[in-house]
Symmetry: C2
Subunit: 341 residues, 2 copies
């Protein structure tokens, strides 16, 4: 088995990607296509002693930069490392696609070059948020689509269920909720009100509306929402975490005693940061694509790249897409499928 890695994507690429790939291959005995500028990658592979391993360099002329407008970059840079990595999956040469590059462009590659898996209309990003209870809550869709329709949210729910049960393994019968503005049935916008009865018709463990505050309690295993809302929640949460630590720092700097205190609690802060950082856990999967697609944070270091490659391997070894297909068949009754089509 080979995984196609966009070796040029990410703030610390290509050294992070080459190092991460080498560490991964040594530990997991799975091959990696390093896609990007051949001469640079060859030198790095030599430097980090990655020769004579199942790592193959596949040349790509172009690189999509982190801050390029994704839609333009996707259309204009057809010879980019992302494009070529995506094509390796489409052609069946690689089983999975991993990128820490420009998120929007990576999503476009996954959706338009690799494509949706059978039975799925819209792939969606599932992000596993850390919670108070220790086990994750998966928010899906965290930004692959906007203006989703009720039927899409039903499929997001099945994808989230399958992700929790088969990959995260944090629940055998995942509790599924729909993100809304109040607990009671009937609360919400049109999308929520129209999706609610459809989710009730499924054989999922659907427990009703979830609110913004429920994302971090651990009371839900899966929370479905439109990708616009999910993306805003994801970016708000990431940024708020940093702002809180930053504002605390500013208060701490005001006296020598609080400064000493900060030194003493530093190990706890470090452990906390590690738990809270979803990038650390191997990136977010774009669920419902033909191969496995893992989109990792731009800040990914070699360890995060290795983790993403590991997660991609788990998806493939678990036969995630087959399980997803089975779940669509088992969890959605015929009368619901007719209503959705």
């Amino acid at each position: 088995m080979y995984i196609a890695l966009d070796a040029m994507g990410g703030d610390y690429a290509p050294s992070s990607t080459v190092k991460g790939a080498i560490e991964f291959v040594k530990e997991y005995k799975v091959g990696v296509y390093l896609v990007g500028k051949k001469d640079i990658l060859q030198k790095l592979l030599k430097k980090y002693k990655g020769e004579n391993l199942p790592i193959e360099i596949v040349h790509a002329d172009d690189v999509i930069q982190m801050h390029e407008p994704p839609s333009i970059a996707f259309r204009k840079k057809r010879k980019s490392s992302m494009h070529i990595a995506g094509k390796l999956v489409r052609e069946g040469k690689a089983k999975a696609f991993v990128s820490a590059g420009n998120t929007g462009a990576a999503m476009a590659v996954a959706k338009f070059i690799i494509g949706a898996s059978p039975g799925i209309e819209r792939p969606a990003i599932g992000v596993a948020f850390p919670t108070k209870k220790g086990k994750p809550t998966v928010l899906i869709d965290a930004g692959a689509n906007v203006d989703s329709r009720p039927r899409h949210l039903v499929y997001f729910a099945v994808m989230g269920h399958t992700y929790v049960k088969e990959i995260l393994k944090s629940s055998k019968n995942p509790k599924v909720g729909i993100l809304s503005v109040g607990e009671e049935e009937g609360k919400g916008n049109e999308l929520v009100k129209d999706t609610y009865p459809l989710l009730k018709m499924t054989k999922l463990n659907f427990v009703g509306n979830a609110e913004g505050r429920d994302i971090f309690t651990g009371d839900f295993d899966v929370i479905v929402c439109d990708g616009f809302v999910g993306n805003v929640v994801l970016k708000t949460s990431e940024s708020l975490g940093l702002v809180i630590l930053d504002m605390l720092k500013q208060e701490i700097k005001k006296s020598i005693i609080t400064k000493i205190g900060a030194l003493l609690i530093y190990p706890a802060v470090k452990r906390f940061k590690k738990k809270a950082d979803y990038a650390e856990h191997g990136g977010a999967p774009l669920l419902g694509t033909k191969g496995t697609c893992i989109i990792t944070h731009g800040r990914a270091d070699a360890k995060a790249i290795k983790n993403s490659l590991r997660v991609a391997t788990e998806f493939e070894k678990t036969h995630f897409n087959e399980k997803l297909y089975d779940n669509i068949n088992h969890l959605l009754p015929e009368e619901l499928k007719e209503e959705l089509s």
Copy 2:
């Protein structure tokens, strides 16, 4: 001038509301109608030495509980303290309405009993988030409406502008953004794409798309969004703040050294919490209603109630609604108003 205070609303009511009202009246020389159960309020007023002040008790038979479904409570409990307080404003006896009770029911009272101010179709909640730069960013609408149309967001922008300029006074020419999933124009859902050109037509200082991460940077003074998204963001942020502190605590408890560190930084944490707690700053106004409506957090203590009454007074003394009306006339060109109608 009198303010109608829902004396029975809030986790710590009625003692928090009676105490808060007494402290407020003594300091600001503005009268308060304490609306609620007469016998209870009379006793408390005596206990806290609030007699012989411009505080009048207005009896209300019923109380809407914090966790009742708002729509049902609003329809069935027409003699509740909230209803009666709202009526005092509608009848012109009070200038402003303040409640720390059931948020949904308070919003219904504001919208359906007090009503929208001239020129406004949908009142909206403006929440001032603390930011890294020290000055607030107002997110509007934070949950008064769902499924807003582009024209509503244009009015939210004018309300937010007026709130920042006249009440918060944190900017003379507030930077207005629209919440979206990417920085570039053209990114977003249908609502954002349709609203963007309308905001460009206004004379507001419209600077384009904002992302979830921009809420806490202080780069925007006003960020407009639909109330569904705004409410999810508000509840997510409140809860994440608490979860982060909680998770940090759990890590700190693991060793004696980090425990000592935590004791030393406690003063900094306390200062930070005070800065971050928007309830501390006097609740969130429902902008665009006929009188001033301040909806305060259920956790509001006497001090927060006093602050809410103070903020209500500022709105009235500033003649907020007149300024809002002027701004609608000045900031929205005729051709835009035609398009919006």
